[in-house]
Amino acid sequence: MILVLIEHDTGVVESTSLQALTFARGLGEPLRGVAFGDGGARALEAAGAYGIEAGTHIRAQESHAPGAWAHAIADLAASTSSPAVVAAGTDRGHEILAHVGARASAPFVANCIAAERDGDAWNLARQRWGGSLLEDARVRGPLTLLTVALHAVAADAVPDAAAVAVDEIEPPFSEDDQRVRKTAFEATSTGAVSLGDARLVVGGGRGVGGAEGFVDLDALATTLGGTVGVSRAVTSAGWRPHAEQIGQTGERIAPDLYIACGISGASQHMVGCRGAKKLLVINTDADAPILARADYAVVGDLHQVVPAITTEVARRRTDDPPER
């Protein structure tokens, strides 16, 4: 059986894990789900709709770090002679499988988009460079660990799901497992829409020219109920905090519209906004590479174009208030 790590929020399976399950179903072996902590058993039962036959709920404490969980997974993979462990390509999925790989001396291949068994080997396709480059790779051995790139496959339920046989174990976590301890969770209480969830993002790049230049972008974002995001040129210069960075080493966004102002379109930026449904570019350079990816463009100075848009929206709202 192939083991699939099921991440869940108190029993509700994460959509990323549903994608990983859909991916794992294509590997040609029955699946056993593995879930940790409170609600794990419920998550495993729900994951039956995505094709697992069996589930192991591993009881763990709040203070357990992912490295401790990996110990339990490595033991389970060994005792069930699993040829593979699959997880979603989330921070947590990558981290846990890295620890499993280190414990089991097994190869771990991150961000796969396709996998096929070939005798005792796997032929894999995976993302490099945050997804702007693909690699076909081959890996051999009794145990292979794979994370599934996010949004590489659409989650798809099975038509004829059977009930999942869930067992529960309390593994003997060792003293070494407890060296890293989770001591607290600090909730952010801003109430603001996070960049990753925003329906509209107003992006600013080096073309904004400085920290002060962002007043125009902030005003447009406020007017439209959107969120400001930036390129790395902006965060490296210290104009805006890194939390606003979009791209390979920043946030991934998926808004209905991304308005990219003064951004050239480096591949490391573009992998962060591939999820945007529409892209509107505002740039002085009609030949900027980002235009080749844009749906709409305005050629011009963002410091003139952006305030003009904000003014026009305000004008239409006052002249012609929408009916309530």
Binding site: L134, V180, F185, E186
Partner: protein, 256 residues
Amino acid sequence: MNVLVCVKRVPAPGSRIVVTDDALDIDTTHLGFTMSPHEECAVEEAVRQIEAHGGSSVVLTLGPEAAVEQLQHALAIGIDRAILLETDATGWDAIATADAIVEALRTEAANSTPFHLLLFGNEAADSGDYQVAVRVAHALGMPCVSGVKSLEVGDGTLVARRDVRGGAEVFTAPLPAVVAVKEGINLPRFPSVPGRLKARKKEIERRPQAAPTPRVETIRLRVPPEQRSEAEILGRGPDAAPAVVDLLEQLGIVER
């Protein structure tokens, strides 16, 4: 305190990645090189920890002779020593890389430079394997925290924070420990001119490496099909504003 930081030389591609004819590498003919943004932050963090607690710092890379450029960047920012695990061979997968780093650290420990803090990037910019730090930690029997966005080192322990949905998780671990950091943990400084001059005078310690036997074999690299689109030009300059707002209405972002 002794701090080690591991960095990797990678090309800095622009708007489009081009692969070589044999499809095994990125065509770097027209490209500059850098280290991953996460690693730039790891270097900055190493310098800050030494500034705060005293001690010495070492930067280490496994790569070609040309990776001296990245080592010198780290030295220019304030790292004390640089080690190059020199190799021209390709095929270094994450396991082989971690093994070579572990071997080098065992030699350092035998030469009486045991490290208290080992800093890595969360994932390398090119391969994005998410694991070298974890493998090194396990091999050396050290605890490891990944994805770290804030780090405080105290008396024999560390406190590390990382972002998760809705907030931050706080971890503690005893030293020595491995920490894999993400960009945003700090804002790296730019190297000063005197820093650069000093760096160029420092000796790079070279340790030649035998060719690796990778477990994960690269068959070919390929550029994913691009979603190219012909942009509809809504206008030029501020006169385009009405057309833009028409679009915003059409997309339902602005109420009609």
